[in-house]
Amino acid sequence: MDQIILQFINGLDKGSAYALIALGLTLIFGTLGVVNFAHGALFMLGAFCAVTLQRIFTLSAETIDPTQKDFLGNPLVVKTPYVELWFGPDMGASVIHWSVPLAILFAIPIMLVIGYAMERGLIKHFYKRPHADQILVTFGLAIVLQEIIKQFFGANPIPTSAPPVFAGSFDFGVLLGFDANTIIYPYWRMIYFLFSTVIIAAVFAFLRFTTFGMVVRAGMADRETVGLLGIDIDKRFTIMFALAAVVAGLAGVMYAPINSPNYHMGMDFLVLSFVVVVVGGMGSLPGAILAGYLLGVLESFASMNAVKEILPGIDQIVLYLTAIIILLVRPRGLMGKRGVMED
């Protein structure tokens, strides 16, 4: 029983990353009709916003300490971060420790600009082109972004830790009447789950309760009519693209302590998130969220040893197997609408 609860919590946590990325993908697809293969790269750029801020905070003054030796036997160059020199060692250290949460503020304007530039500079030229062209150009862009990051940060993952106050685990077991330490879950992963629900709720509220959101929804349903009413829907869709980039970026920032950022992490998520979008139904925002959590939970359960004893290797194929079954039973996905990508 404890195993099942534990894997369920884990599934929701895994699913929150899938849901966040799939949400951004669906936003772009639903508004602009573009299949954005560079979306994973936006997630990766978000994680590197956290790395960059950490690097900025740890920019150091160098002093030579003759009493210590480096690996060649020369006097050791001691590095002290400027923030520690300016704000004192304790305050400076806590600024560095809090670099990941602070990176949320840092990442929002950066991702907005990146999203805006990407849409205006490249993707808008591909609206009228076939989906295959869009996939090729965005996939190419993803590779270019990856290589740029690798050039600056190297190929090795970069440790980016959460603030030490979130280091421990929360004991669910005690709450549910189990023994202590049977069902524990790391604080940071729970924060990630909460963070993702907040972001998802914010995106839905934005689309549902603002005039801007209403126009965007109208544009998603019937772009031509909205255009005929004299509304510049393209401009709004550009903003939606930038917003989707911010969602992907924030998902990346908060993921940095879970999975040390490396240039390839976006690609690892990209295929998965397309599976999520297809299972949820192309163009359906609630479908993407539902499928994200569903696949996260299924993947977690498939990794249970009891399950693997009956179906060896199921953990490695469960997502694709589910996608096949859902597409056979419901060809439009869980919540897909008639007419999307069917013309």
């Binding site: 195993q3 599934g11 946590d13 690996f71 190929a155 993952p157 685990s169 790391p186 998520f269």
Partner: protein, 448 residues
Amino acid sequence: MSTSNFTRRGVLKTGAIAGAGVALPTIFTAGSASAFTNEPTGSTVKLGFNVPQSGPYADEGLDELRAQKLAVEHLNGGGDGGMLSTFNSKVLDGTGILGKKVEFVTGDTQTKSDAARASAKSMIEKDGVVMINGGSSSGVAIAVQGLCQEAGVIFMAGLTHSNDTTGKDKKANGFRHFFNAYMSGAALAPVLAKAYGTDRKAYHLTADYTWGWTQEESIASATEAVGWQTVKKVRTPVGAGDFSSYITPVLNSGADVLILNHYGRDMINSITQAVQFGLRDKMVNGKQFEIVVPLYSELMAEGAGEAIKGVYGSMNWNWQLDNPGTKAFVKSFGEKYGRPPSNSAQTCYVQTLLYADAVQRAGSFNPCAVVEALEGFEFDGMGNGPTLYRAADHQCFKDVLVMKGKENPTNQFDILEIVELTPRAQVEYAPDHPMFAGGNLGKCNPGA
């Protein structure tokens, strides 16, 4: 009227001359005196360095390449000579190999077997290399070793730790200086027993490919021999990213040790996440829960950061060793590149020098002569103490380092400490040991 200068006879004549011209090089190379593949005929000899230049191990590949360039520089008499001054075989004198200046070409393995084979093939066929060196994965090493055997060139493996490289997939043209999974187990188990006791229950998470499988087998068997129980062995897909769904079942499995048979990015992620799940703060069976990473590398340790503090593992070599070979190498590498070399850099550097030395001693670049010179070769002064290249399986036998993540590092390179230098005798095994059974070296292939 046509004013063209083309005539039927003219075209035929030109065609015949061009055809003969194109065929000429093949006539010379195929039919003439060449006794083996890519026999160097001019004043230079070309080596092929096949390392990951893109993909997840690109940083490790970069470090290997630094060491290989340094080896070429030293062979050609440049720099301070590095290990040439400490190597006990004194036939290399800085005038290249057999008087020929050493040149090199590089290939990108991408840490994919097919890409590595393609780049090795291109270096052999287009660039005419006589030896391939480098790589940082056993899947790649086994694939390239097979190719070199067929093509008739020597393969001096880089970082490859699977038992199979010199076990069931061994080849006469292939040589491994790096240690293997069996040796890691033999060196680690007694240290683990001493540190954590003999009554322990281990849970393995294993990368699902040749290296992971052989390491899991080796570590499980070595730890069981000191009294540990193996609770569970779980295979994880390579590049899983998030290992949480594999870590949660560990929590209540009754295990009190987690053994991570992961390398590179997988290891960085799995250990970081295991620590996040509070495994190292947990008490199980009345004991402190522990994590072990049987194969360490400097880059992995750097990537895992805080998570590796106090965690045991093993290495082929480390720059902190106190011997003349190590000191000479660290000095020339450190002065040139501003950082200490990694253990994969050291193995590539040593392999390149060992190849050059074998050619020099054999007096020929013929792969069969090189194989003969390397088989059973005993040497010292290369940083690992007295070392034997065993003839039966082309595996080097030398001391193994047991390492631990340092608790209080003083600088960015000071992340691992040497706990024990396990003597060679303790990690030796018979060539027909069951973990290495099933293969056959076969005959050396000179190609051509």
